[in-house]
């Protein structure tokens, strides 16, 4: 058996029997153990603290989770409103009635010209024949139109403008230009309806944006304030530990765990609240969706978003605790 084999055998034996960390000196091993133990103790002790005053903890968690879930709810609302706005776009076609003398070929080339414009998304051509058939089936004038000897209808182009959901300003310019084109007899555009819808969407988006911003701020403030209050109430404990020679990490540990617990629990409560709100909104959402014939599905919180919310909450709790302890730790320095 050569040396390499021996080495391998030693390695195998080593991995088979999990020996204690090999080269750390005894006192260092002991300190590592104590360190791990202190983590475990801080973890349990901070949870016990919260459980020890259930009223105060519940209050704090409710405030924190409300502040956390409200921006998410608003964001959901906004996101869905935007999707809704997108779906409403296809009802926004501009009816362009060409002059009666324009023939099919000219109409087609004019349509191609329009299609190359940057502010136009789709151009559909409706021939006079199609127009008459549609008119007959839709309007209440079926009988009246029977008396017509010839088809008096012109070619109609249905132009869908390419605009952002939020801005309703692009359309009027396009409509104006189309109206003054030499091929065009008249432009029909249900401007009132469309402006209203656009305005409503823009208004909602703006309100939701402002509210979400305020609520995000509130979430931060509430978390910070909560952990700060907790720590101010334990200032004596911190200062005694400092006087006994505890370093910053040791003093911080239980508070950071407290922050983590607050964050994790508040995150869970927030997720529950959001689920509750989604259930409460199921009925009107259903109605809204059915009016779109199933083309449009409202989306709730995805798994990824739920995890992001939870992570944000935990991080906020931890960060709040970190900031608040830093302040208190500075007070314990010798002057």
């Amino acid at each position: 058996m050569n040396r390499r084999v021996a080495t391998i055998r030693v390695k195998l034996e080593k991995s088979a029997a999990p020996a204690p960390a090999p080269r750390a000196p005894a006192h260092k091993r002991r300190r590592m153990g104590a360190w791990r133990e202190h983590h475990a103790r801080s973890f349990r002790a901070s949870l016990r603290r919260l459980a020890g005053r259930p009223g105060a903890t519940a209050l704090t968690l409710l405030v924190m989770s409300l502040a956390l879930c409200l921006p998410f709810l608003l964001w959901l609302l906004l996101d869905n409103a935007r999707a809704l706005g997108g779906h409403l776009d296809d009802a926004r076609g501009i009816g362009v009635f060409l002059k009666p003398e324009i023939d099919a070929a000219t109409a087609r080339s004019f349509a191609d010209k329009l299609r190359r414009r940057t502010d136009v998304a789709v151009v559909a051509i409706k021939t006079p024949e199609e127009g008459l058939a549609e008119f007959r089936s839709q309007s209440g004038f079926a009988d009246a139109l029977k008396v017509l000897q010839s088809n008096p209808l012109p070619t109609v182009l249905i132009v869908t403008p390419k605009i952002a959901a939020a801005s309703a300003r692009a359309t009027p310019a396009l409509v104006d230009e189309l109206a003054h084109d030499k091929h065009v007899d008249q432009v029909q555009y249900d401007a009132l309806w469309r402006q209203r819808l656009d305005a409503i969407l823009a208004f909602t988006a703006r309100v939701a944006g402002v509210l979400a911003m305020l609520l995000g701020l509130a979430a931060l403030l509430v978390v910070g304030n909560t952990v700060r209050n907790d720590i101010v109430g334990r200032a004596e404990e911190i200062s005694v530990m400092q006087l006994l020679g505890a370093d910053r990490a040791f003093v911080r540990r239980p508070f950071l765990y407290t922050g983590l617990w607050y964050g994790a629990l508040a995150g869970l409560v927030a997720l529950l609240l959001i689920a509750g709100v989604e259930i409460a909104l199921a009925a009107p959402l259903d109605q809204l969706t059915s009016s779109y014939g199933g083309r449009f599905t409202i989306h709730g919180l995805s798994w990824v978003q739920a995890i992001a919310l939870f992570g944000t909450s935990v991080m906020l709790g931890w960060l709040g605790a970190w900031i608040a302890t830093s302040r208190q730790l500075r007070l314990g320095r010798p002057q």
Binding site: E236, L243, L244
Partner: protein, 272 residues
């Protein structure tokens, strides 16, 4: 072990608590700090434990120049100093056991060792039976003894105590002082602030006398080996209050070899 060089401390309020203070304490030496209320005893001890920094002069503790200690090394210095606070400073939401265990936890002791050493310390101050009690349910004297157990549990090289017997009866005071003296014997430097002049006298140790922040006397008894057992015995005789026996006990002691050790203090200093 503890060395003060021309130390001065002026509080931000303008109060000059210490001025031109110089003294040196060897390793394993025990000394008392005496002086009127507001003389600066607590201020002096606070600076040894790096709870405060002097505004002038140099302090060396455990060979470490405190003026040069960076903020992140302050905890290490403090771990080397066991401190009994004048106002106990116990954590009210932890049991007596957990309070005493705190310095060991901070030092990173193993669980089993913590238990053994905490019980030993509690036993020394006579509170082993109350280890599970909450500090609020203890009398003030009992709280002070828990504070003493916390200071000695880590066996620090330097032990400082601010008025450790202020709330204790004479017999218990003597026993606690004997406890401190025992630490001196194992090489610990001990510095105790106290008002109890009778007790200080009987201990026969070095006495630093402060007056309005100035060191007005540094008295070293010639026969410093006055038996500690004798102290405890005389204190027991002294309790309960029996003027006759107390006077006798004291008289005997003075007669029995401490007369020569009378500190040559100048009389008539400061009214507080």
């Amino acid at each position: 072990m503890i060395k003060f060089e021309q130390v001065g401390k002026k509080y931000p309020s303008g109060q000059e608590a210490l001025s031109e203070l110089s003294f040196e304490l060897d390793a394993g030496e025990m000394a008392f700090i005496a002086g009127h209320s507001g003389a600066g005893k607590s201020t002096l001890l606070r600076m040894v434990a790096l709870m405060d920094r002097p505004t002038r002069g140099q302090i060396t503790v455990n060979g470490q120049n405190l003026a040069k200690t960076k903020a992140r090394h302050v905890p290490r210095v403090r771990r080397g100093v066991g401190m009994v606070f004048q106002d106990h400073r116990l954590l009210m939401d932890r049991s007596v056991f957990d309070n005493v265990a705190l310095p060991l936890e901070i030092a990173g002791c193993a669980r089993g060792e913590i238990g053994r050493r905490v019980r030993a310390a509690l036993d020394k101050v006579g509170l082993l039976a109350r280890e599970a009690a909450a500090p609020v349910t203890l009398s003030t004297g009992e709280q002070q003894r828990v504070g003493i157990a916390r200071a000695i549990v880590g066996k620090p090289p330097v032990l400082i105590a601010d008025e450790p017997t202020g709330n204790l009866d004479p017999m218990l005071s003597a026993e606690i002082m004997k406890l401190f003296a025992e630490f001196e014997q194992v090489g610990t430097t001990v510095l105790v602030a106290s008002h109890d002049l009778n007790l200080i006298k009987r201990m026969g140790k070095r006495v630093l006398v402060l007056d309005h922040g100035k060191l007005i006397d540094d008295f070293r008894p010639a026969a410093a080996a006055a038996s500690n057992n004798a102290v405890a015995r005389s204190a027991r005789d002294d309790y309960p209050p029996s003027p006759a026996s107390a006077t006798n006990g004291e008289g005997q002691q003075v007669g029995a070899g401490q007369d020569a050790a009378v500190p040559p203090l100048s009389p008539g200093q400061g009214d507080a």
